[in-house]
Amino acid sequence: MLQATDLACLKGDRLLFRGLALTLAPGDLLRVAGPNGVGKTSLLRLLTGLTHPEAGEVSWQGVALRRNRERFHRALLYLGHAAALNDMLSPLENLRFACAAAGDEDVDEERCVQALVRIGLAEQLDLPARVLSQGQRRRVGLARLFLSAQRPLWVLDEPFTALDVNAVAELATTLSDHCAAGGIVVLTTHQEAPFARPPQVLDLGSYAC
């Protein structure tokens, strides 16, 4: 269970939002909404423990993140704005590295190939990432979803950006399935996606300062 109490976020010398509280239980799918610049990405980074809140606390399974970092990060998959791809490596090399660096020791080359084929990059396995289109780069990052089913909490920043209609539908299904299996998904998006059941919406605009 992911819990945040009385969160405030300071960016530079500007207070983005304050007094934000949320509780997410297994099966929840939360969509963070709000206009550009309201602090959606900042909120997601707070929830992952990459940054620390100005006030308030984020806790996972009842323990504050800062006292629980390793266990929390074993349970978390975060896909940020940047796709974390190195242009000189192939999608396969990038994905293998991402899994190994995250600490998924059971992910071998075969599983990475399967994940990339499943996400529609069978032809691009060995091309350098710099020749991929924006949508294909996004897919390489998203391939980690198929290898991270054991991580209950997925935090995704604009996962639908640059994807085509079919890929959006498939991703929505993957996310719905993850929730149905007891996972938690937090995402930001400006576009409508066909989720199995409508997500909870957190309107960040109402907490803005």
Binding site: T48, G49, L50, T51, H52, E70, R71, H73, R74, L76, Y78, G80, H81, A82, A83, A84, L85, N86, D87, M88, L89, E93, F97, A98, A100, A101, A102, G103, E105
Partner: protein, 222 residues
Amino acid sequence: MLSAFLAVLRRDLLLSWRGRADLLVTLAFFVIVVCLFPFGVGAETNQLRAIAPGVLWVAALLASLLSLHRLFAQDHADGTLEQLLLSSEPAVLWVAGKIVAFWLTTGLPLVVAAPGLALLFDLEQGALPVLTLSLALGTPILALLGAVGAALTLGVRGGGMLLALLVLPLYVPVLIFGAGAVDAYLGGTGAAAHLLLLGGGLAGALALAPWACAAALRIAME
């Protein structure tokens, strides 16, 4: 436990291999700077012998500074650093992996090239192993201290210059004991004391720098 260390080490070595032109630039810079000195100070043999250890060490120090700003910059820009910081493995391990890969690709070639260049200065044959050993002990310290500086200046505008200003003063002790080791050998007092001090410095830097570096990277992410 070592998977993050090995994954980062392997990836960075692979990336260096794919972008090997960058590595040659570092090595070429080292060779050219060393070769400039005889032109500048004249070809008087005794004088060249006397300045050889200092010249080689200063050139090695500048060359190792050359690619330092790239150590974390690419990973910072493409989001890899975020993912690494979210790894369930301790950050110290993969930071150490990056520094080891960095030294293997930028420090080790200097150590290998130095004895050959020393012959240009007619450095005594017996001093070559001392020079090589002092560089082999000293350049990892430069990489470790430099990595802390690179992490601290990450994302700062004009970070390259700032990095040089921050790191060069810290390199002074390494330079003193590194060049001093060869001088001491030539002077007949033996290089053991200098080399032991360098070894001690390396042990200290190995124990502390990855932690400082990891902490600086976390701050850079804020």
